[in-house]
């Protein structure tokens, strides 16, 4: 069960890693500094989890 949870978590991390940059691109393209910074923080958080659990 634990192994299943770990794989599900890794899959979610991968999906986030692939999806967040699309939102980052949109935020940067529209010149929204606040949203860009917020999404960068989200990406940093995602990478931190990968660093710990990847």
């Amino acid at each position: 069960m634990f192994r299943g949870f770990k794989m599900t978590l890794k899959t979610i991390l991968l999906v986030l890693m692939l999806v967040i940059p699309f939102f980052l691109y949109a935020a940067a393209a529209y010149g929204s500094t606040f949203q860009t910074n917020l999404l960068l923080i989200l990406m940093i958080g995602n990478m931190l989890v990968v660093l710990k659990k990847g």
Binding site: L14, L24, T36, V50
Partner: protein, 515 residues
């Protein structure tokens, strides 16, 4: 007074050094080490190299587009492998080959060189060593030889194997087309084909056995190297490893019937599905990929939907300019990965119709594909994303300039060693190409050397790194009961890996004087 350039060079190298140290000395996985490298590049980029939020946002989007190009192939290749493997076809192919010859040299060549390369062509990821090593033990070879031979024998096929994933990664990070990169890559890898065959036999029987099997090596090697070259140069690089090894298999089985090698062997093992049904999934693959690449009407019909994202000019706070342009586009229905996907689906229904699957097979195929694909993907995405941060902040340029200042025009001698280092550390030709591809490209441009030649040396060195990558050696040893005793295997493969890489470096240097 320390030269500021040297300090900047060390800081620019720090993300790569982080990945290498964590993977070698701390045994971290590619995904964790890639994430660590990403953080180091982010910190260095913000504090020293002038990164800002908009630059980071655009660089990450570019990284994801590059990564998707690579992941599309990797996932589809994994799917096809599991579709075929669930029928027992891989084992079946091994049995079919065994019936052809009792000559030890021919058995080594067919299993350790050709069949291992075939498995690299269709799967990769340590599968060649893990599958072939037990087969060789079953034929009476010692466990050390059984692991070392396929490790050496399959290396030449890594770049164009796994449906060309490593080559795709090289194209993605360099932004260069296959038509430009393929000729030199296939040439250097073609030379390596012969060297891998020679040393695969040498590790078992020394020069005496090499002399005995030289005619076979020359015939089969020429067939495989030429096939890989033609497939790569004519745009079918996804089939480079697979096609070459299939042709090699046919040649090998024919050579086994030559008078000097003709010793038949009877087997107790019964064949359940027959070798032709076992290979049918790959015949479908060849038909689908050939149609998608070579028939203009099909190629153009499949190429109608392209995911393309445009980017503005990006300037770092230090004044480094990345020009405006499109990111790596994805041909959604005509991509190599898409063709693999079609072949997987067709193969699945064929095998299901013939009754080769047990119950719940589809669930197992999907589960195993995800189980293999997710960890690899995490590593690849994080490494590509940090390579993009480095590229947009002048970090790669600074690394290239430093290398150029030291080596200048003799750089080609060292370029395969960079690829080898990357693959040795990360266990992957693909990761090596991602991490070092842009660096090698910029160094070549600065030194006025052919970029195609240097990138060919990079990917050849990266391919050769497979024979000494600890991760792959560990997997192979675990399948033959050598867990904890990898030393003798690594000692053997390291020796040959260093010799072949030296030869490739010399050839690259000589070629750079002509090109």
């Amino acid at each position: 007074m320390i030269d500021l350039f040297i300090v900047k060079w060390i800081l620019a190298f720090s993300p790569i050094l982080t990945v290498l140290i964590l993977m070698i000395f701390r045994n971290w996985s590619g995904s964790r080490a890639g994430a660590a490298g990403w953080f180091v590049s982010l910190i260095a980029a913000i504090l020293v190299f002038g990164a800002h939020p908009t630059l980071l946002a655009y660089s990450q989007m570019k990284g994801v587009l590059l990564a998707l190009n690579v992941l599309y192939i990797i996932w589809a290749a994994l799917l096809l492998y599991h579709v075929v493997n669930e029928t027992g076809a891989i084992k079946e192919i091994g049995i079919g080959i065994q019936r052809f010859s009792g000559d030890k040299a021919i058995q080594l060549l067919i299993f350790g060189w050709i069949f291992a390369s075939f498995l690299q062509g269709v799967a990769g990821y340590g599968v060649p060593i893990a599958v072939v090593a037990p087969l060789l033990v079953g034929l009476g070879f010692s466990p050390v030889v059984a692991v070392a031979v396929p490790a050496i024998g399959h290396s030449w096929s890594v770049t164009f194997g796994s449906m060309g994933a490593s080559f795709q990664a090289l194209m993605a990070v360099s932004g260069l087309e296959s038509s430009y990169l393929a000729p030199w890559s296939a040439t250097l890898l073609g030379i390596t084909t012969f060297l891998c065959g020679i040393f695969a036999v040498h590790v078992y029987g020394g020069w005496k056995m090499v002399k005995h099997s030289l005619p076979a090596i020359l015939i089969i090697g020429t067939a495989m190297a030429a096939t890989q070259y033609l497939l790569a140069v004519f745009g079918m690089w996804t089939l480079g490893g697979l096609g070459a090894s299939l042709v090699g298999l046919c040649c090998g089985l024919a050579v086994a019937k030559l008078k000097m090698y003709n010793q038949t062997q009877s087997l107790d093992t019964q064949s359940e599905m027959g070798i032709w049904w076992a290979l049918s999934g790959y015949f479908i693959l060849i038909i689908v990929v050939s149609s998608g690449v070579m028939i203009p009407a099909v190629k153009s019909w499949l190429g109608q939907v392209n995911l393309t994202v445009s980017f503005p000019e990006i300037v770092s706070l230090e004044g480094w300019v990345t020009k405006a342009g499109n990111g790596k586009s994805i041909n959604v229905f005509g991509h190599g990965g898409a063709l693999l996907l079609y072949a997987s689906i067709l193969s699945y229904y064929l095998y299901r119709g013939k009754g080769f699957y047990k119950p719940d097979t589809l669930k197992r195929i999907v589960a195993n594909t995800i189980k293999n694909g997710v960890p690899t993907s995490l590593g690849i995405v994080s490494m590509i994303c940090f390579a993009m941060i480095m590229d947009h902040c002048q970090m790669i340029f600074i690394l290239a300039e430093g290398i150029n200042r030291i080596f200048g025009t003799i750089y080609p001698l060292f370029s395969p060693w960079v690829g080898l280092l990357g693959a040795f550390m990360t266990g992957s030709n693909t990761n090596s190409n991602v991490v070092f591809g842009v660096l090698q490209q910029e160094t070549a441009e600065m030194a006025g050397i052919s970029v195609a030649l240097i990138l060919a040396a990079q990917t050849t060195g990266g391919a050769l790194g497979s024979m000494i990558a600890p991760a792959k050696i560990l997997v192979g040893c675990s399948t033959v009961g050598l867990s904890g005793q990898e030393g003798p295997v690594l000692k053997a493969t390291l020796r040959y890996g260093l010799i072949i890489t030296s030869i490739v470096g010399i050839i690259a240097l000589l070629a750079s004087l002509i090109v």
